[in-house]
Amino acid sequence: MSTEATTPKPVELVNVQIDGVWYQFPKGTKVIEACSQAGKFIPRYCYHPRLSTPGNCRMCMVELGMPKMGPDRKPELGPDGKPIHNWIPRPQISCAQEVSEGLGVRTDSKMVQDARKGVLEFLLINHPLDCPICDQAGECRLQEFSYDFGPAKTRFLEHKVKKPKRIQIGPRITLDDERCILCSRCVRFMREVAKDDVIGIVNRGSYSTITCHPNKTLDSNYSLNTVDICPVGALTSTDFRFKMRVWFLKETKSFCTSCATGCNTVIGARENLMYRQTPRENNDVNESWMCDYGRLNFHYLNSPDRLLAPVAKGVNEPDWTAALTATASALKSLPPSEVALIASGKMTNEELFLAAGLTQALGIMLHDIVPHTDAGDDILLSTDRNPNTAGAKLLGLCDANAGSKLPAIADGIRGGTIKGLVILGEDATALGLAESELRKLEVLVTTAMLPNLTTASAGYVLPGSGFAEKRGSMVNKSGRLQRLNRAIQAPGLARDDWEILTGLTEAITGTSLGLATIEDVFKAMSAATPALTGLSLSKIGDLGVQLPIA
């Protein structure tokens, strides 16, 4: 984005009549969008605001009228002082047409209704109508528009065109060509957004078939977005296919925590199981997309190996109070200089804030987070695979160079100068420490969801919650504060991490932090953090807020 101070050009507004009512729209607005803004939704299949406009489905046809010009080349005005229209005698697509001064639009005339009926009939004649076993049922535009605008009876007495079914077109996608309505959204997405032009259409006419180019597969890290934008059940997610009817899914707005981009999502869950997450539009973050890696990185939440109860040396019952008390006294038994804390860039701000409080309560000087990096791309995926590195910096868990203190911590453990380690949501072997070296620690406390080499060596294991199981906020790589919402409950006795940290700190200090809810934590955090002044979890809203940080 340009930082130059440009004086914004005044947007020129044009007058447009839609179904008899006059509106004003900025020049350049597509008629289909203008109609939506006027509350007249125009059905569409191929049109997608973020892709090029081929105008191929013919579903968005409307009647257009040009202002009638008098002999003086000025529009002739009707009794209401507004232009009269010359209506084009054939329906026109509204997706490619921009509004112009005096334009008239009819979205529901007989001509428009007939055109829609005609198109829907054409789309249905060769469609397999296997809705009862189709994954898209419940969110299928063909079902929806047929119901709203389509013909009630079939006039088709012929054989349908047969096409390939159940094609594994890529590692994560199953294609049913008979259901495809050839809107070309998937082709355009792969070409224009994913920049991996691997799918196309072969054959002609009604035999046209979506397929992958020879010797290629649809294996882009963005392939599953084609499933989202496919208006029908032609492209389905192999992961989600046949797992759950979509109308049973409870939807929760969230964001992906698999990298520092923080793509906005909707989580679909039922009966405390997460089934899928799909991208949610946010123009400041991910437009309408997300990557496959992030999208599918949630199955661990449903893992049978989840840690279900706290474990602490000397405590034989699965009891949180006892476990936290034991953990606190173990930590207090060591001088602060011999204890280090490693937090995680996957923790929420609230958790990081409380972790910082814990370091203060114990007087720990040595603390950091574990950087996780991997190959990124120019589209969305960040090389920083921690979703909240920015939050960790903001809240002082690490310095500008995250991870710079980890070698000192590892050396301290090896050399015996560090005898206690609190490691939150990370595996200490990632520091290059062997299991045997970890076992040298007198006190090893960890929060975790799943067993790992650290939990195996730790005397104090406190089971926490995953991103879909808790509330809280994070700051993405651009400094945008975003909010997680709870979609499912953590399993067993596993707790929300902010509660664990609060409980542990209170057990150490013996005084209450006065934090009853996550809102209280946010309030305390914002009071202590200038960049968060005046904010609250509810003020973050569904689309997040930009923080005044670089």
């Binding site: 406009t53 081929p54 105008g55 191929n56 489905c57 013919r58 579903m59 046809m61 054939r90 329906p91 697509i93 490619a96 047409q97 007939d114 055109a115 005609g118 198109v119 009939e121 054409f122 789309l123 004649i125 060769n126 079939t154 006039r155 088709f156 007495l157 012929e158 054989h159 349908k160 065109v161 309505i181 050839l182 070309s184 196309g200 259409i201 054959n203 002609r204 006419g205 009604s206 035999y207 046209s208």
Partner: protein, 466 residues
């Protein structure tokens, strides 16, 4: 090479002057012996705008199908255009019933070269493409040879005739589909993509054409006429034919006539009847006329005996209405349109009383269902549906509602598609069903059975007998 054919005395040969001439060969030496490239020499001494003006004055209309005024099309190029401007010669000739461009290409390629070079000069084009139908491999070779010869002689390439004007022409072999002849499909194909026609707006070729640059697409015959317009002058050319229907054009007659073939005639100088009876030797003995498709397979069919009311200007300037029959329709653009069909690509298909109109329509439906590019819903699905209905009618499975259904399906296509293929594929059905209702009704007598799984219905219907 076919045996030399003597032009019919009623022909007026300008573009086809050298076609089938004894001893005429496609090489540049022969062309130069016959006064070739003299018009180019004249043209490069004119100002480009002058040539455009002459073409406007000539009232030349496109010979590719739509009959769009060539000068008006050229006028869409903005003066002072800064993007490159491209010229494309449409040599895809694939409309059934059309056979004219191929003879120019095979027998007189330098005429086309000269027409293209003059047009390119007039339009400030430095790169032109000749998009030739893939099924004309020999034609492509001949054109490539012609390009090489013209370059060698300095009519093409750098600094043409010492004027400083540069032009390259490339031959591009078509992708083997009818839709490659539709100008925006052609442009996509030329760009190396599937020939999916583009939506207009915004992709009017003269504004956003090849590589998103202004592009003029003209038919082979149209570009040849430009050469003769430069020679004669626009005003002189406009004296041939009738106002707004000027010049000559090549008509190809096929079907049930004694002597099918191609003829170059002065536009409007004769009627359909004269064409069939005088130039083509009439119908075969003992046969009577049933139908004529006057302008390539997409044109709406005429039924023998049909009457049309035509308005024309009388000598005193008042409008008079006269009634004419099919054979009285003059071969021009405007009357043909006033009679509800089109002069199109000049392909006249004649059908006599031995023809079954359901079969004939089915034949066309097969062509269009096969050639629909499949991009937009109504044409993609409708063209095959119409084919399947006529398949079933022919196989004995017609139901009473079929003619009405055919009409309705064709109406749901026309005017609702990306490109004019929608009209091209639906007009035959529309006109055949409307004009020969008894033939369709005779094959559509069964009752619609109660709903069954559609998968089995067509067989059930066909199997049930009459």
């Amino acid at each position: 090479m076919p045996a030399p054919r003597i032009p019919h005395p009623r022909e007026k040969r300008i573009v086809f002057a050298n076609i089938d001439r004894e001893g005429y060969t496609p090489d540049i030496a022969c062309y130069l012996r016959n006064g070739g490239y003299e018009d180019l020499k004249k043209a490069v001494k004119m100002a480009p705008a002058e040539i455009v003006a002459e073409v406007k004055t000539s009232s030349l209309r496109g010979r590719g199908g739509a009959g769009f005024p060539c000068g008006v099309k050229w006028g869409f190029i903005r003066p002072g255009e800064t993007k490159p401007i491209y010229l494309i010669c449409n040599a895809d000739e694939s409309e059934p019933g059309t056979f004219k461009d191929r003879y120019i290409i095979h027998q007189d390629p330098h005429q086309l070269m000269e027409g293209m070079i003059i047009s390119a000069f007039a339009l400030n084009v430095h790169l032109a493409y000749l998009y030739i139908r893939g099924e004309f491999p020999q034609g492509a070779q001949i054109l490539e040879q012609a390009i090489a010869e013209a370059k060698e002689k300095g009519f093409l390439g750098k600094n043409i005739l010492g004027t400083g004007f540069d032009l390259e022409i490339y031959v591009h072999r078509g992708a083997g589909a009818y839709i490659c002849g539709e100008e925006t499909g052609l442009i996509e194909s030329l760009e190396g993509k599937r020939a999916y026609p583009r939506i207009k707006p915004p992709y009017f070729p003269a504004v956003l054409g090849l590589y998103q640059c202004p592009t003029i697409v003209n038919n082979v015959e149209t570009l040849c006429h430009v050469k003769h317009i430069v020679r004669m002058g626009g005003a002189e050319y406009a004296k041939i034919g009738k106002p707004n229907n000027t010049g000559t054009r090549i008509v190809g007659v096929s079907g049930d006539v004694v002597k099918p073939g191609y003829f170059e005639i002065e536009v409007g100088s004769m009627t359909l009847g004269e064409l069939i009876n005088d130039l083509c030797g009439g119908l075969k003995p003992g046969r009577t006329l049933k139908a004529i498709i006057p302008g390539g397979s997409s044109a709406k069919v005429f039924r023998a005996g049909e009457k049309f009311k035509i308005k024309s200007k009388a000598a005193d300037g008042s409008m008079v209405e006269t009634e004419i029959g099919v054979l009285d329709i003059p071969l021009d653009f405007d009357t043909m349109a006033a009679c509800g069909s089109m002069a199109g690509s000049g392909g006249v298909i004649v059908m006599d009383d031995t023809r079954d109109m359901v079969e004939a329509l089915n034949n066309l439906n097969h062509f269009y269902a096969h050639e629909s590019c499949g991009q937009c819903t109504p044409c993609r699905e409708g063209s095959l549906w119409m084919q399947k209905i006529t398949d079933r009618l022919l196989a004995g499975g017609g139901v009473e509602s079929d003619p009405g259904l055919l009409e309705s399906v064709s109406n749901n296509i026309a005017g609702k598609t990306i490109c004019a293929f929608g009209e091209a594929c639906s007009w035959p059905t529309m006109s055949f069903v409307a004009k020969f209702p008894e033939e369709f009704a005779a094959r559509a007598k069964k009752q619609v059975p109660p709903p069954t799984p559609p998968e089995f219905l067509s067989e059930t219907l066909i199997g049930a007998g009459h």
